[in-house]
Every structure is written in structure tokens, then in C-alpha cells.
Symmetry: C2
Subunit: 114 residues, 2 copies
């Protein structure tokens, strides 16, 4: 029964069901959740400055270099999320035979790595 | 003299000089500047929602799929910027023999396309 509590279904705002691994009553936090949140905040700030550059009419090549930096930062943030997910949820999922978590990750990786 | 006005140097907030192509007194706007600004705004909103998903503890695979969507959107925004730049500044730069604009674009593309 305790095992069941780790992988329970949720319904998101759009009505889709999703599952994730956490102890009952605990938020789904990984070791690097704070790192991921900080990186996303920085990327948002960086993107705001790219937008400002475009509206100020700054040189396109300069805008592209900054946009590339944001994309690289988001790619490496994605890698942190994948590694954290593997360390936490996937190891637990394999141990408890939860095939869906593995299929979901493979699907996400297919989309993430082009 | 009119040709000189099109490519004049500016000094950005950080003190770096940059050049861009526009008629004197006109902002450096391309055909798709508004499209680019709208796409950047949407990407910022989307990234805010990814951040919310992470802080709410939503499933990592779901977060990754949304993060991939933001990265794809930024990549295609970069393509719009490159194409617009080629249509406008680069055509003018070639016509006026401005080698720097071409070198700058090549450098930016090197960073953008990995």
C-alpha cells in the first residue's frame, strides 16, 4: 500500500491524468528543484532582455548570440531535469516495475533531443 | 554620404559599439519585428508556466515536453530573425561591400546552430 502511494494519479488543469513519484503529502521535489527554478528564472530574465534588444532595434547578430545563450541554458536545464528524474523517479519506477514512468521519460526525451 | 548613414555605429548600454543598418532617424525594424516580439512574449509566458509546473511538483516528463516546446519555439524565432536579417541588412551589406555584417552573421549562426 505504501508503494501505491508513491505513484498516484493526478488530474492536471486541462483534465489530463498524470502520475508522479512522491511520498503522500510531500511535494514532488528533487535534489535540484531549486537549481532548476533558479535557472528558469534566469532564462526568463535573459529572454526579457532579448525582447528589449529586439524592440530597441539592436543588431540582429547580437540578438541571435543572446538568443543562442538562452537556448543553451534551457537545454542544460533540461539535462538537469532528466538526470534528477532518472536518479529519483526512474530508479524507484524500475524497482517497483512501473513501466509507464519509463515510457513517459522515453517519450519526453524523444521530444527533447532532436 | 547617404550610404554611410545606413551603417553607423552605436554604443550600447555596456559600452560596446555595434553597427546596424537603418535609415537615419528610423528604428531598426524588419518586416517581422512584431512577429519576433510576439513570439518572445509567448515564450516568456510559456517558460513562466514551466517554472510553475516545476514548483508545483508536476511530473518531470511533462515538464520536459513543455520545455522542449519552448526551445523549439525559440529556435524557430531565431530562424525568423536570421531570415529577416538576410532579407534586409545582409542584402544591403553585400551591395555596399560591408564585410563586417557578413562576418557577424556567420559568427552568430555558428553559435545558433549546434
Amino acid at each position: 500500500m505504501e508503494e501505491d502511494n508513491k505513484y498516484h494519479a493526478h488530474t492536471s488543469a486541462d483534465g489530463a491524468e498524470f502520475t508522479h513519484c512522491h511520498e503522500e503529502g510531500q511535494p514532488h521535489a528533487h535534489k535540484n528543484t531549486k537549481v532548476v527554478l533558479n535557472r528558469l528564472s534566469r532564462a526568463i530574465g535573459h529572454l526579457e532582455s532579448v525582447k528589449r534588444m529586439v524592440s530597441e532595434g539592436r543588431d540582429c547578430s547580437e540578438v541571435l548570440v543572446q538568443l543562442s545563450a538562452v537556448i543553451s541554458a534551457l537545454n542544460s536545464t533540461g539535462k538537469v531535469i532528466i538526470k534528477d528524474h532518472i536518479e529519483n523517479c526512474i530508479v524507484e519506477a524500475v524497482e517497483s516495475g512501473d513501466r509507464k514512468a519509463i515510457d513517459d521519460l522515453n517519450h519526453a526525451i524523444d521530444r527533447f533531443i532532436k
